[in-house]
């Protein structure tokens, strides 16, 4: 949690008793917390991270953090610190190779449907949704599995109700990240005044945190998908590749992320399609591996600068945006235009791979994102659903899964135990599950036969 700068009274730490919150981020540039707060916090078993944003006077700030006995510091360049350091920076500036213990994105979005809402979003005709799941999936890959935090603050200009806090928690935790709880002005003041309404809100917020702590093991499950996005996700490719991840998620297309420099070391089992959105073709080794993937039956989707295979004629896809080459048992799809809109690429990828290969289909899902994860071996899966309107939908969600699960249980933030879900045969193949109404978040635990 981000300890509010104006909470100078150590008795406010009592708000954290019996909650799962065990770490406080304190601002260390200017208004540092009183020593009494640090002492009382340590007595309660809390750890303190000093956030140092300013570069001016940094050395002194780092020294005083050490002298104050802080457990860690958070700053944009972890290598400057002698204490354990959290890399805390804008997403595009996070130093993934720095060896930091934790990575915190300072410019994560406040999740939800933006306030210009009510309008249908552009290309998808469903509402625009600000969500961090795609980033967390990417960050966890780039961070080699280290913890990733979202350091986003709620808007101060409007009243933030409890469901928006629950959404911020779910939007992060569903994807294996954590939101650094930050209070809006109104809740901060009300909690400090110990108003009953604020205490009730706080109970709901910390209850949601406890839910995800109880199910921490879910974070160890890997994304279940047969489409992979392979890129360096940086430099000239940063915008297009990352926007692609966002838009695929909005289209309900699960994916795995392969960072280009680690492509050789990454297991490609179960992948049927690879999207390589980088402008320039890869080096020879990776190119060879990708073409071997195609020869074995995969679909590789690349940008226009990829050289056409010599001696092979091209056919066109149905939308005439891609040149298709049959190579071995698979296909190589090369974009015809040099600058493809990531929305178009996301939509076309689904068609090029064919809906026949969908691993999940969602219905009445317009304001939601799903994150489908599976244990090794595939007998157990957890499908997270995050609802960005925070309101129960008037048309309930149905999910179709080609995998033949036998049992399913539904977890919600407001229940201590799961409810069984009926698993019915789907129309063509697989199973269909109908969800009862839920608010911000639901998780479906699935079990397949042995």
């Amino acid at each position: 949690m981000r300890w509010p700068e104006d909470w100078r009274d150590p008795s406010l730490l009592d708000l954290l008793r019996d909650t799962p919150i065990n770490c406080l981020v304190v601002e260390w540039d200017n208004e540092r917390p009183p020593a009494a707060v640090l002492e009382q916090g340590r007595r309660l078993g809390l750890r303190f991270v000093g956030h140092i944003e300013s570069t001016a006077g940094r050395a002194a700030a780092l020294q005083s953090a050490q002298a104050a006995g802080l457990d860690a510091v958070a700053l944009d360049n972890p290598k400057e610190a002698k204490l354990p350091a959290i890399a805390w920076a804008e997403k595009s500036k996070l130093p993934w190779s720095s060896g930091a213990a934790v990575f915190a994105a300072a410019d994560a979005v406040w999740p939800g449907i933006p306030s210009r809402a009510g309008e249908r979003g552009g290309p998808t005709a469903v509402p625009w949704v600000d969500a961090n799941g795609w980033f967390l999936q990417l960050a966890r890959t780039l961070a080699h599995g280290k913890p990733v935090w979202l350091a986003t603050a709620p808007p101060q200009a409007e009243a933030v109700r409890t469901p928006r806090y629950l959404l911020a928690i779910a939007d992060a935790c569903a994807y294996g990240g954590r939101w650094v709880i930050t209070l809006d002005d109104k809740l901060r003041a009300s909690l400090a005044a110990r108003s009953q309404d604020a205490l009730d809100e706080w109970k709901a917020i910390t209850g949601a945190v406890r839910f995800f702590e109880t199910h921490r093991e879910w974070s160890s499950l890997a994304p279940y998908a047969n489409l992979a996005v392979l890129s360096d996700f940086s430099g000239a490719n940063e915008f297009a590749s990352q926007e692609l991840l966002n838009l695929l998620a909005r289209r309900g297309v699960p994916y795995r992320i392969i960072e280009k420099s680690r492509a050789d070391a990454t297991e490609w089992t179960g992948i049927k399609g690879i999207l390589f959105p980088d402008e320039q073709p890869p080096g020879d080794d990776l190119k060879k591996k990708l073409l071997s993937f195609v020869e074995g039956g995969g679909t590789l989707i690349v940008q226009a600068k990829w050289p056409a295979p010599a001696g092979l004629g091209a056919t066109s896809d149905a939308l005439r945006r891609w040149n298709l080459y049959a190579i071995g048992k698979g296909r190589l799809a090369i974009a015809k235009d040099e600058s493809q809109d990531p929305y178009v690429v996301a939509a076309d990828a689904q068609i090029l791979l064919s809906h026949r290969n969908d691993v999940v289909r969602y219905f009445n899902f317009g304001t939601m994102n799903g994150y489908y994860t599976s244990a090794a071996g595939g007998r157990r899966a957890v499908l997270h659903v995050v609802n960005y309107t925070t309101r129960t939908s008037s048309n309930p969600v149905s999910i179709t899964l080609p995998r033949r699960y036998e049992a399913a249980r539904l977890w919600r933030l407001d229940t201590d135990s799961p409810a069984p879900l009926e698993v019915a045969p789907a129309e063509m193949t697989g199973v269909e599950i109908h969800l009862p109404p839920f608010g911000v978040y639901a998780a479906i635990e699935l079990e397949a036969a042995g």
Partner: protein, 383 residues
């Protein structure tokens, strides 16, 4: 195969005009042509479906005389996004033509000697192959493609495989637009079938075999993302230019820019224009299961209902009239009377063109009498 010129003239009435024959427009329903409409009870999409349809087609005089040796285009109804449902119900049960009805119809068309069967639809915001749209909602397109020899799909929400759109002319310069540009498939056919779901419609009162043809208009021209002067390459958005007149379709000027900017005025007129310009030879309205209150899951409070009925005829106005009667409505209703509380009646507008009659006294109903098939949409409880 008809020559393009003669088919175009037939569709536009230019042939008659060129011959100096003034086209007379019957002003009353009593003057528009009447034909037989078949009604059948059919409770499920199972084994009773194909025999029920076959019997209906026999009652209409048989399909062979209509389709033998012909290319048949079948416009189905897959309105809205496949990702939206009424409750948990798949779209096929509530607001899309059911795939088994499509397959059974294709099978019977093939059995009657149709040379080629092309299934058409303009799915929401996409030019993707129809097969993919079907797969995305758990359908198996092969069940339709394999229902008869030479069955194919075409997405008509864009230009598709043709080099240009086909232009269709409603009579008398049209109610809304002088002409309509549609995907070539609506011209490259000898027989046009409208195969749809029996539903009410929030803008148009009802959506039956005639309103189904509204979806023939490609959003590359008639959509909110269409190019200003030229069609866009791909469809974006819905048909708000028609509904609300907030802009013109690509390269078009509507007949009366001062006409109301209300869907209840504009959409019925476009529907009437379309069925007059692109005649429907066989209209099939399936209401085995459907939804109440409107045309898609975006209608709040809508629920699955089970009328258990199919209506078919060789005249779309008459078929829709009988369908309306089965739904508990008066097909002669005008604006202000259910189901046309907020819209003009496209049945009346089409009848004025002489497309067909909605006067039940002039329509021979064969099969199940209307009174036995009646399922009042507004008062029957949901399933």
């Amino acid at each position: 195969m008809h020559s393009q010129i003669s088919r175009r003239q037939l569709l536009s009435g230019l042939g008659a005009a060129a011959a100096g024959v003034a086209l007379s427009r019957p002003a009353l329903a009593s003057e528009a042509p009447a034909s037989t409409v078949a009604v059948a009870k059919c409770k499920t999409y199972g084994s009773e479906l194909t025999p029920a349809l076959e019997q209906m087609f026999d009652q209409l005089g048989g399909l062979g005389r209509i389709v033998k040796g012909k290319t048949v285009a079948v416009k189905i109804n897959m309105t809205g996004s496949g990702g939206d449902r009424v409750g948990h119900h798949p779209a096929a049960l509530t607001h899309w033509t059911h795939p088994r009805v499509i397959g059974a119809t294709a099978h019977l068309l093939g059995k009657a000697g149709a040379r080629r069967i092309r299934i058409l639809e303009s799915p929401w915001q996409t030019a993707a192959p129809i097969e993919e749209v079907m797969l995305a909602v758990n359908w198996d397109p092969q069940l339709i493609l394999g229902a008869a020899p030479n069955v194919e799909f075409e997405n008509t929400n864009w230009l598709g495989n043709a080099k240009k759109y086909s232009r269709f002319y409603p009579p008398d310069g049209g109610y809304m637009f002088k002409s309509y540009d549609l995907n070539h498939s609506y011209e490259d056919c000898d027989v046009f079938v409208s195969l749809t779901k029996m539903k009410e419609h929030a803008t148009c009162g009802v959506t039956l075999s005639m309103k189904n043809c509204f979806g023939a208009t490609p959003c590359t021209i008639y959509g909110e993302g269409a190019g200003k002067d030229e069609p866009s390459e791909f469809p974006h958005g819905g048909r708000t230019p028609i509904h609300y007149g907030n802009r013109n379709p690509s390269g078009y000027q509507e007949n009366d820019p001062k006409s109301p900017r209300k869907g209840g005025y504009r959409v019925p007129r476009v529907v009437a224009d379309l069925v007059a310009a692109r005649p429907v030879h066989l209209a099939i309205v399936e209401g085995i299961t459907t939804m109440n209150r409107g045309e898609g899951p975006w209608i709040r409070g809508s629920q699955l209902i089970r009328p258990g009925v199919i209506v078919a005829g060789t005249n779309c106005v008459s078929t829709d009239a009988v369908s309306m009667a089965v739904m508990g409505f008066d097909p002669a209703a005008g604006r202000g009377t259910a189901p046309f509380e907020t819209s003009d009646s496209h049945l009346r507008l089409a009848a004025k063109y002489g497309v067909g009659t909605y006067d039940l006294r002039r329509i021979e109903v064969t099969g199940t009498p209307i009174r036995e098939a009646r399922f009042p949409f507004r008062t029957q409880p949901p399933a």
